[in-house]
Symmetry: C2
Subunit: 349 residues, 2 copies
């Protein structure tokens, strides 16, 4: 089996030096490089004849770039459960990466002995074989992210991520504005008291929603009652809590995720309350799983595909300005979906 041709083979065939091959192939028109069209032609002919393809690894070592972009996820990239969740991101990433003329490396190897994925394997950054990477995933490791930032490795996270000792480039969905919009919409429908149920973890995506909720009240000059915000898991949502909400005049619920909403629906059913007659309901983000009794919920759509594309654009932008290590942070608007689960409160009619 014959060996892969390398640069020097091409150079020999074209009767030029290896350096010229490199310059021609990379189309380095800049500075003092002026190569005659004839020489270029000879080089390309030789390349074609030998079927030469530059070794990306050598390229990376020598020149520090190889037009390879990485995708690293903290969960399996093609997971059954998250199927509908990751897919649109990848769709956007692939599309834009192709448009930007890069290839994609999926870091499947980056997983420790415990099966958990991590960027640093034996404390070496496995992303380094690419020019830069897009990271995504819910169960990310913040200290790894810090280290990545410190090292100066170019990457963009899909989702807002903050670290104590630096700033991360990201593209997120504008959960705050989307939440604010829904609150405003509910208030316009006549709802005076709106409960907000969120998970206990202070993830950025949750904080953004809560900020939007608070902002809406502030803008509408309505007093915000702290007890109307519930932070906890679905198991902690008790009939007593929901009943208390009703007693306190709550007529609408803003719920952050599917488990919480399932729980609310279950309890409401027990209490004999129905939607949208007895209360209104909105989900703060599109659901990837069906919520059984509700086919048409009021919610907002997260622009996942567009986020994937934007992440690639940011990354490429980052790579083309290595001198100014500016952090890029972008929030893309969500689309409001007026479903059947929000109506004017009954008493207000």
């Amino acid at each position: 089996m014959k060996r892969r041709p390398r640069q020097s083979d091409v150079a020999a065939l074209a009767a030029v030096s290896p350096a010229i091959v490199s310059l021609v192939i990379n189309d380095r028109a800049d500075s003092n490089v002026r190569i005659s069209p004839e020489t270029r032609q000879r080089v390309w002919d030789a390349v074609r004849e030998l079927g030469y393809v530059a070794n990306p690894i050598a390229r990376k070592l020598a020149g520090n770039q190889n037009r390879l972009l990485g995708v690293f996820t903290y969960e399996a990239i093609f997971p059954l459960e998250y199927r509908n969740f990751y897919y649109p991101f990848l769709l956007g990433i692939e599309e834009e990466v192709q448009a930007q003329d890069y290839d994609l490396v999926l870091f499947t190897r980056a997983s420790g002995p415990d099966g958990k994925r991590s960027i640093y394997q034996d404390s070496i950054n496995s992303l380094q074989i690419t020019d830069g990477a897009i990271l995504l995933g819910v169960h990310e490791n913040r200290s790894e992210l810090s280290r990545l930032v410190q090292e100066g490795f170019p990457f963009v996270f899909i989702g807002r991520r903050e670290i104590p000792d630096g700033a991360i480039s990201y593209v997120t969905a504008d959960y705050g504005e989307a939440t604010r919009t829904i609150v405003e919409y509910m208030v316009r429908q006549g709802h005076q008291h709106i409960a907000y149920l969120r998970p206990p973890e202070n993830r950025e995506a949750t904080l953004d929603r809560e900020a939007g909720y608070r902002l809406a009240f502030q803008q509408l000059d309505k007093p915000l009652i702290e007890q109307h915000i519930f932070a906890g898991n679905s198991e902690e949502v008790t009939p007593q809590l929901i009943e208390r909400f009703f007693v306190e005049g709550i007529t609408a619920f803003l719920v952050e995720n599917t488990p919480l909403i399932r729980r609310v629906l279950e309890i409401a059913r027990q209490l004999g309350k129905s939607i949208p007659r007895d209360f209104s309901l909105a989900l703060l983000g599109d659901h990837t799983e069906e919520i059984d009794p509700i086919p048409d919920i009021t919610t907002f759509l997260i622009p996942r595909k567009e986020m994937g594309k934007e992440a690639v654009r940011l990354l490429v932008d980052l790579l083309s300005h290595p001198d100014e290590p500016h952090v890029r942070q972008v929030a893309l608007p969500c689309t409001f979906v007026a479903g059947q689960t929000v109506a004017a409160p009954f008493r207000a009619k």
Copy 2:
């Protein structure tokens, strides 16, 4: 920003040569390397003191391997339409690639100006940046495959693919045996005449099914009537054809794909025939789209995920024996699904 420490820094601090650092770090206990425990200790101390981390790029270049496996598809890798179709393959590929300790490269760049994907860009094999690749897709280009084989580039196709001037490694589903099983099942149920509807293209997957159909008749010592095999597109399936089948005593239909089956159902409805009372029906492979009026069809499941995994295994096997360029061809068994669409023929009862 201070420069990352490199091997020579460690060597200097530990007062040994760089080679020793490499040997110690990689724990090369083999052959003639015997390094005193004291030296090892000094090296590790230096490593720790400097926070040295080997550069993976340099490592790969020197070690002559990059542990990168490619995935090339002739359609977009994350296509909306084919969503359910490709997904399981990728699932299996990712799982096994991870197990084998490789990373994955997706060739998003490999598409010409016309938008059609091809392996050879400007007649250059773009897969070469990987150690080997898995190919999949329906609209493949045979001459590219031939060229790939000629070049000796290691790859495995998912699906059987034949070329005139060589042999391709592949993993396929055993469509022949699966089809044979269904015919046998139908015959046991009492069907004497079974029609087989297939697309006009002589793709390997179709030929395999037809061979299974023929083999079943041969094994059962039943005469096979050539007119009972229909090769054509769904538009070419006419009411006359189906009526003729019924007149000729056909009580069961073997149909290869979803468009054909939709057409058969449509005509049958017009003729007032119902399943499984008036005729039995089986689909030769699992459907990724729902077939409207039939929730529970008799068919076989294609082991897509397992095919993805097996493809990776074959490829890794290929790579570990570069000396013997043996072609590997594997057919994985399908799972028979006894649905509600096959029953004993009415007259036989």
